[in-house]
Symmetry: C2
Subunit: 307 residues, 2 copies
């Protein structure tokens, strides 16, 4: 029911749009107003966060929330917090000293539209705001459970830092021009994109009724597989889709000599690997029965997306 | 008693050294080992965090912890979290796109010793780790109070973000070459340095027994005054001390045409302003009686420091 108007019975595209609309509104409400001092910083934070993106991590949080009956209010908070961490990482990754990219979500990147120091502070501030938001959530009408909230803060912080997303980025930096093995590439992606995708799934599912140990274990297996699946599909799209379709510069990884699943396995075997990961992810969901339906649909969406 | 071996009765310099030693050990234990993957990132995080700095914010947290009888274990955690936020801000402020500085705490800055992308990720990772640490603290033997921990996360996140430290940095960026009024300069500093100093005091004091409303009010008045005092003294030192004494580039603010209390008031009136702020800060502590002794001594140390 947590898709709001588009409940559990709604077709997947309707549910997806309903969640995206809710998350957009929740992000807008959580961000400081554009006119609040310092206005330029707040405008830039809103520019990078609002009005774009597939919102894959928020969708995962909402779909995982179905497993434990989490309320839409809780899910809006955790989905917004995870998305803020994701957006901050994009803003910093696009900086001249990192990927030096000019296009993101079909628009000029933050340091192009504003300036480099502002982009640095936008990323820094979005990270703080994500934790501010998570720690402020009182759990809506259901009453806050401080221990549960604290676990969510811990999960998100760990997934974001040097043993998660930022650590994966550091490995990526060191890998340019290197011939990585598949296990090395998997470790990099398990951190760089996988950690935050896993966090989105866990934060969504842990925002409702407690899960038992077997369910948590199954959820974690699903989360790890779907995180890797997302990256493999990303690598395939990077070499098969156009810049216009992606809304970001296509063919970048090959051009910058970065190792990808396509460069490692070739296109055909990368596609087979994606199909295997999808099957493993869906198998892990079996324990949840009908409650896993949205996660099944979302896994298929991630597998077959064109952008 | 929270200075460990150098308890409440110890002379101030002994207490200060004991706290600094404890905080160094706590930071070292909280940081990932230098050899953990990605090793270069973890080495750089340890390089910027360990072995330097006056540890003013940790000292404030420990001294404020005396007000509420907080345990050394809790204070090590909150002091380390606040210091990590401070260090991340220094690393990002020193980047070429910001202050472009080469010297910090008497050593090459992070992007000079390592490289720019690593410095960016060091800052990002230290911010995550600060919240990870705060959210992981179980409160030692005294038993964790999740609601209290969550309040500390909220305070630190708010103090760090666009309505706190990062926001002050954004105002600072926009102020170069501008003639700010004293209220405008105070707003900038209340955010840029004041917010985190206030957080250090509040986190320390709120780590022990609950304070009543009058005590919290007095504490907040003290925290705001001492935050501003720290900045005024910093401005005075920037134009009176040498680079060797400071361990960072002296005379930078004047050279970069940044507004300071000295440029606004002149040296003599800036010194008078510092004396007024000290008196106001000490007056706010009266309500705490003998428990405020360490904060009184620390306020005097901040006022009269030479580096």
């Amino acid at each position: 029911m947590n898709g709001g108007e588009a409940g559990a019975a709604a077709p997947f595209p309707d549910w997806m749009r309903a969640v995206q609309t809710q998350v957009e509104a929740a992000l807008s409400a959580a961000l400081p107003p554009a006119e609040a001092i310092p206005a330029r910083l707040h405008q830039a934070m809103r520019y990078v966060t609002l009005g774009g993106g597939k919102r894959v991590r928020p969708l995962l949080a909402f779909a995982a929330g179905e497993l434990s009956g989490a309320t839409p209010e809780r899910l809006q908070t955790v989905a917004s917090a995870v998305e803020m961490i994701h957006v901050y990482s994009l803003v910093h990754d696009d900086l001249p000293c990192m990927d030096d990219d000019t296009l993101r979500r079909g628009r000029p990147t933050c340091h192009v539209e504003y300036d480099e120091p502002t982009a640095l502070l936008v990323g820094d501030s979005l990270q703080s705001l994500a934790f501010d938001l998570l720690a402020c959530d009182t759990g809506g009408d259901t009453g806050g459970d401080a221990a549960q909230q604290l676990e969510l803060v811990r999960l998100l912080a760990h997934a974001s830092g040097s043993c998660g997303m930022a650590g994966g980025q550091a490995i990526d930096l060191g890998s340019v021009g290197q011939a990585l093995t598949q296990p090395e590439l998997e470790l990099m992606h398990a951190l760089k994109t996988g950690a935050l995708i896993r966090a989105a799934v866990l934060l969504g599912a842990l925002s409702g009724a407690p899960l038992d140990a077997a369910q948590r274990d199954a959820l974690d297996r699903f989360a790890k597989r779907v995180g890797l699946l997302f990256q493999v599909v990303d690598d395939i799209l990077d070499c098969t889709a156009s810049t216009a379709t992606l809304g970001k510069t296509a063919g970048k990884d090959a051009a910058s000599d970065k190792p990808t699943y396509v460069s490692l396995l070739g296109l055909e075997r990368a596609r087979e690997f994606a199909a295997d990961l999808r099957a493993q992810a869906l198998a892990a969901l079996a324990v949840f029965g009908a409650r896993g339906q949205r996660l099944i649909e979302l896994t298929d969406f991630i597998t077959h997306r064109k952008f």
